[in-house]
Amino acid sequence: MRFESWVLDSILFVFFFLILREGRIVLGRQRTSLFLWGSILWTGTIENVMVALGGYDYFAYANYYQCGGRVIEGYGGWFAFILFVPLCICLGWFLLSLPAFVISDRLLRDRSVWLKSAFAAVTLVSFDMLLDPISVVNEWWRWTSPGFYLRGVTVSNYIGWFFLLFFFGAVFERTVVQQKGFGWLAFIEGVLFGADTSDLSERDMGFVGKVFYFRLVAFLPVFFVCCTAVAAAVTLLFANNLGPFESVFPNSAFTGWIGKP
């Protein structure tokens, strides 16, 4: 039986509102709001870059979606998009990562930020290992890059999921929850915000939010370097599927790397 993409879309939207409601009670309205907009900024940017590079795609731009054997023009199978990525993917990441963050915060209460983030990220990856093979057989999205494939999904995807929450969780915890700073960003933040950002406890939430978004942007290159390095190492050592792949972006980085048939 095939599940259409709008089924996943609907499920994720419903659960998004339910988790958002509980999140506002658990973390508070302002923190949850920062987590949500930060999630959209963080995943929206990373997912769009990965799709544009040809790592995977959501079919929609290929006029793929059909009903009764006829292509439906103008409908990509998803309710709404942020550029090349369905909105529900970003909201879905939020609704999974917020509880993972809350869980790790409770179970590892006084441990380091990085340990908590790693714990939350592993929990999230464990859940995703069920979701992604379902998406592949139902053609909600497809992987178009060389790599070590497990049940139709490249392991690089799981590496990406790990680093997504690992860095996001650490930045959120350090900035919004602990209201402290990162040493390596202290100088540039001092110049940019004209204030000492190593202690944000006396600042209003609006200022904390600005610093949080800035830190997310600052951590984007860190994410890409770590993710690419680990994923490339796994691909070079264990790749069991080198393509050829047909991304909807024909001149993408991955397609160029492995070459056209």
């Binding site: 509980e22 658990v26 915060d105 714990f119």
Partner: protein
């Protein structure tokens, strides 16, 4: 985690209950996906959807273990406050 406006307004018990509901929602989402895995086509490399379910249970064991530990911790805190 430092107290925030909700915990001050609603009280710690309400926050703990919301944490439990959040975990319950996450488990419900897991069950929905497990049902999808059963009713949909076999995954790549699988021959039946029963294999999908078994695979799903194995790979999500860490997730479910963590969720269980979390629920127990919240329940303990809840009963400690009653």
């Amino acid at each position: 985690m430092k107290p925030h406006e909700s915990s001050r307004r609603l009280g710690p018990r309400a926050v703990l209950r919301a944490e439990l509901r959040m975990a319950g929602l996450l488990f419900l989402l897991f069950l929905i996906h497990l049902a999808e895995a059963f009713f949909t086509f076999p995954f790549k490399g699988h021959e039946s959807s029963v294999q999908n379910v078994l695979y799903g249970l194995v790979v999500t064991a860490p997730f479910n273990g963590v969720l269980l530990a979390f629920c127990l911790a919240v329940r303990r805190d809840l009963s400690g406050r009653s």
